[in-house]
Symmetry: C2
């Protein structure tokens, strides 16, 4: 389905931005990138349009496309909104989820734990995404599920900053369990709370983020 240059280019550039290969604030040089990828400027510019819509780059008319990475403050704000959307999903899901849905959620949580214990962080992020997507879908509000998934995807690269710190992993496991038991017991408010707490950057999580952020900043300079 996704077989257009514009789409693959978008993914590649996105990757280059979040890995720091292209620095924050830098201009995306159309001719240079076109040469680098061996394509013309046309599909590149189409990719720029959607990158701009996603907020990762800013398109200034007749000036160019500039990388716009969120600051720490913006990052915390984004996770705060994510937390609220997740809480909403949790509240609705608790009311509407089926027995099969709960079983699937349990399995996803188990898979998360296994990945963590095996130290396979890439696998963890995949399983964690499954867990959260199950909750989004279980909300029964497909628009909410889409929006939550969109923001989750946008935050993915920054989420890694938090969990990299040792010790956070056990904490994350426990938080999944809290969500699960709340959903299972039909306690909407507690499910919402547990999810908000799992996602928002508060307390120790703030310190973890700061430590990670400053490290990446030092790398970039």
């Amino acid at each position: 389905m996704e077989r257009r240059l514009a789409d693959t280019l978008r993914e590649s550039i996105e990757q280059m931005i979040v890995t720091g290969e292209i620095a924050d604030g830098a201009r995306l040089d159309e001719v240079r990138l076109a040469a680098k990828f061996g394509v013309s400027r046309t599909p590149l510019r189409e990719a720029f349009q959607v990158l701009s819509a996603s907020g990762l780059v800013e398109l200034i008319p007749r000036r160019g496309a500039f990388v716009r990475l969120p600051s720490v403050v913006q990052m915390i704000e984004m996770f705060e909104v994510m937390a609220e959307l997740e809480a909403m999903c949790g509240r609705l899901a608790t009311r509407r989820i089926s027995a099969d849905g709960i079983a699937a959620l349990k399995k996803a949580a188990d898979d998360c734990d296994r990945a963590l214990m095996e130290g396979d962080t890439d696998q963890y992020y995949r399983e964690n995404e499954v867990f959260h997507h199950l909750l989004y879908d279980a909300s029964g509000n497909s628009f909410l599920a889409e929006e939550a998934a969109r923001l989750h995807r946008r935050l993915q690269p920054f989420r890694r900053m938090q969990l990299r710190v040792r010790g956070r992993m056990g904490q994350s496991m426990k938080e999944h369990r809290d969500v699960l038991t709340a959903v299972e017991s039909g306690d909407e408010a507690r499910a919402a709370d547990a999810l908000h707490n799992h996602v928002a950057i508060q307390g120790e999580k703030f310190n973890d983020l700061m430590a990670s952020y400053e490290r990446t900043q030092r790398q970039a300079s």
Copy 2:
């Protein structure tokens, strides 16, 4: 700033879609539209990319761009998410708003009332947008404010469906007052509740929406 064909084209097409000039599900014919606007396909296709990102059209690779208007169910889902974001704004704004901010909010509510009493609905939508944007900004979370504004804008054409029904206007005025008093008295929960209630499609609002939706459907066919 917005001086590119691609941007004006996006706006024009958006307008054509929400006014029904281009029907739901229709394919956006690149060559026909290019001829109609007297431009080439290049800026048109760039406009398609951002329309696709906003959800108003679906881009199917090598098939074309298709209009995707939300169904009634999706519309209710969208307003439910909007309600939650507004509630979040209200909760944070209540905690963080300044005296000046409250004064501005009061003025905006007054301007809304005046527009309604004068029967100037266009003016009402403008003033209503001011009122809500003030709340978004007062939340102190700029990312939240942006996201709320984005969704508000996306829902604007469908919002008109609800208020067109006679009698809803007085209701809307009262709801603004409820929000205002809650914010003023520092009652976070009540502010959040009042906003959720103001935005979500519940009770009589559902009937109003249905009546309006069916009317537009009849027009389209």
